[in-house]
């Protein structure tokens, strides 16, 4: 991937805008200057022509010779002129003669000519009556044609000079503007670099962005700084959750191993009878059950979480909710009977097919119902309600147990979480059941939520999408 510099891009844009602006301004300025210069040149031409005309005397008689008082004429040596009468006869000409010129149809005209390879500006006055206050009204024979030409080279040189100066000024401006904007951008982007080097330092032992407040001061950086802060927060929380999980998992394992070990060591402490050894071995075997549950739960959770993507339509399996609920109740009836807890269902009679595998639904319901029974006092009742709504169904497991403290409620689905350190131990669980249930329901695109009131009981609510058509059809 090629990397692009925002700074270079911004500087290039600024330079492009400046070049365009400078070119436009220079062009307008030069056009104006050009028309001004040529207007001035034309005025000079007219002035010179008027002088020349005033130096011509009309002939005394008709067809007599014109008199031109050339000795009074003072014009630049580079200027050329030609005076002819109506018949085309030359009356006078400049020292260097004017080459032949194709006369334009208009009697008065300003022409741009190339004479002897050089550019000239020429004023052509045809049928120009001579001005003589003493003379009688002039007949046509007293008119002349005057062509006066002056080289445009000095004007062009002047214009080129101005253009060069303008270009130099623009270039200087451009260079300094580029330099200043480059510096300003480098300076202006420093908070961004600070934020980046700050983010670079984020590590498992270092979770603070020291430049965050500095970054948040800039409107442009605030979204970045905020999202960076949230990212760091999320990462830190995730990392701490994982660390907590490993710590808790290790704790549970060590505790479970400690029990097995102590049972075996007690058995080996002294010589015992065969019956005593048998009893101790049976106890040790029973002690390993918890370790086994723990390992199985952790593996289940790891498997579900690693396969967290929702199943593709071809993998859809579905479970009949009522039948599954009844199966789970039947399986847990001995536990409920032992704890003197009644399990009751309240459901609409029609079949409901939920978009979840039977195994997953069964595991979830077992975990929830088992908890409900274990946390209920003898004589209390657990109710499982099934409701079908459009597109999804709800299964609510409601107990009349001690409830969950509001402070503990947000964490009960966390792995190994215990609102009271004794909860899972006294009830025999390992603290993974609710996490597994949550992971399974989430994987099936459903939700698992809880409402609880201390002293009154808790209600766990599963909501899962349903299959409209029965899969047997």
């Amino acid at each position: 991937m090629t990397s692009t510099s925002i700074r270079t891009r911004l500087i290039a844009s600024i330079a492009a805008i400046q070049i365009t602006g400078a070119a436009l301004v220079t062009f307008l300025f030069l056009s104006h200057e050009r028309s001004q210069s040529y207007a001035a040149l034309d005025a000079t031409l007219r002035e010179q022509a008027a002088v020349i005309r005033s130096l011509i005397e009309a002939p005394e008689q008709p067809n007599g010779p014109f008199v031109f008082h050339k000795e009074f004429l003072s014009i630049p040596s580079s200027d050329l002129f030609l005076i002819t009468d109506v018949r085309g006869r030359t009356i006078s000409t400049s020292r260097q003669p004017l080459p032949p010129v194709i006369l334009p149809p208009q009697p008065r005209a300003v022409l741009n000519l190339h004479l002897a390879g050089k550019p000239y500006r020429a004023l052509v006055l045809q049928n120009l009556p001579l001005v003589d206050p003493d003379a009688p009204p002039s007949p046509e024979s007293q008119s002349i044609t005057l062509i006066y030409a002056t080289p445009t080279a000095p004007v062009e040189a002047h214009l080129r000079h101005i253009a060069t100066q303008a270009a130099e000024a623009c270039l200087a401006l451009l260079a300094s503007a580029t330099f200043i904007s480059a510096w300003a951008l480098t300076f202006g982007l420093r908070p961004l670099r600070n934020l980046a080097s700050d983010a670079e330092k984020i590590d498992v032992g270092h979770w603070t962005l020291s430049q965050l407040e500095e970054g948040r001061r800039f409107t442009e950086l605030r979204p970045l700084a905020d999202s960076l802060a949230r990212l760091v927060d999320r990462l830190r929380n995730a990392f701490h959750r994982e660390r907590q999980f490993f710590g808790d998992a290790a704790h549970e394992m060590k505790s479970s191993v400690a029990i097995v070990r102590s049972t075996v060591q007690y058995a080996l402490q002294t010589d015992r009878t065969a019956a005593e050894y048998r009893k101790e071995l049976q106890d040790a075997l029973a002690d390993t059950a918890r370790l086994q549950d723990l390992v199985a739960g952790m593996l289940d959770l790891a498997r579900i979480e690693s396969n967290a993507a929702p199943p593709t339509p071809s993998e859809y399996t579905s479970a009949e909710v009522h039948a599954e609920v009844q199966r789970v109740i039947a399986r847990l009836r001995p536990l409920a009977a032992a704890r003197h807890v009644r399990v009751h269902t309240s459901a609409e009679p029609q079949e409901t097919w939920a978009r979840i595998s039977e195994e997953d639904l069964s595991t979830t319901l077992t975990n929830l119902l088992e908890n409900a029974i274990l946390y209920s006092d003898p004589g209390k009742q657990v109710t499982i309600a099934i409701r079908t709504c459009k597109g999804h169904c709800e299964i609510i497991v409601q107990d009349q147990g001690c409830g969950i403290a509001p402070t503990a409620l947000p964490y009960i689905f966390d792995r190994f979480y215990r609102s009271d350190a004794s909860r899972t131990r006294s009830t025999g669980g390992v603290g993974l059941g609710l996490s597994i249930a949550k992971a399974l329901i989430t994987r099936a695109n459903g939700t698992l939520s809880v409402e609880s009131e201390q002293g009154k009981g808790s209600a766990f609510r599963i909501a899962i999408p349903t299959v409209e058509m029965s899969p047997s059809s």
Partner: protein
């Protein structure tokens, strides 16, 4: 000797208790949560306490802090599955005497308990002696003038308690309390039975009597006549 085990893993607590009872001959009381543990530790007089850290009701750390705040100097052996060094340092600073990480060896637990009790009584090793009477608490051997003496478990327990406190008058009630678990029925006359049994085995053939009875007060183990 009597110890208190505060541990909410009931299976582990029972295993510790029966192992210590069987191997060391100590009386063992159990508490399955922090509050009960603190109550027992404050009320009963124990020679050592095994304290788990993760307890319902009250954490082990809180129990320990509270015990030390109440000026109870009973040695405390911490049992925990957490093994971060920082928490160990903090625990020792809060007044714990020793620390054992789960899963532990029961033999090690017993050895550490005995060492704690020994040290708290001012002995550096497992060999206790009063005059020419010697007791090796680690191997449960008693000798008088080099000759081994065989004692019943209860006689051994009475003698061990007395040998830890030579020259101190021990009342019958105190002796009883240290010999039995909380849930045993206590009959004061059994103490007299054990003492007379000990007299026969220890003092009978010897020139100097070591076990002294102070009528109306109690018993004392001492080399030489009482002042």
């Amino acid at each position: 000797m009597k110890i208190l085990v505060i541990e909410d893993e009931k299976r582990l607590a029972h295993n510790i208790a029966r192992s210590v009872r069987e191997a060391c001959g100590y009386a063992v009381d159990l508490a399955f949560d922090g509050r009960e543990g603190l109550y027992l530790a404050s009320e009963g007089s124990y020679d050592a306490i095994c304290l788990d850290l993760m307890l319902p009701g009250m954490t082990g750390t809180q129990v320990l802090t509270e015990l030390r705040a109440r000026k109870l100097r009973t040695p405390v052996l911490i049992l925990t599955a957490r093994d971060e060094t920082t928490s160990v340092v903090a625990l020792l600073n809060q007044g714990a005497d020793d620390y054992l990480a789960k899963p532990f060896d029961l033999d090690e637990l017993k050895a550490r308990l005995q060492a704690l009790i020994r040290r708290s009584q001012g002995h550096a090793d497992s060999l206790l002696s009063v005059g020419d009477l010697e007791m090796d608490v680690a191997r449960a051997i008693v000798r008088r003038a080099g000759a081994a003496i065989s004692l019943s478990p209860m006689e051994y327990r009475v003698l061990e308690y007395l040998m830890h406190r030579p020259g101190v008058v021990i009342t019958k009630a105190k002796l009883l309390e240290h010999l039995y678990d909380f849930n045993w029925e206590k009959f004061s006359n059994v103490v007299e039975v054990y003492i007379s049994g000990l007299r026969k085995k220890i003092d009978a053939g010897a020139g100097t009597k070591l076990i002294h009875t102070l009528r109306g007060h109690g018993y004392m183990l001492r080399h030489g006549a009482p002042e």
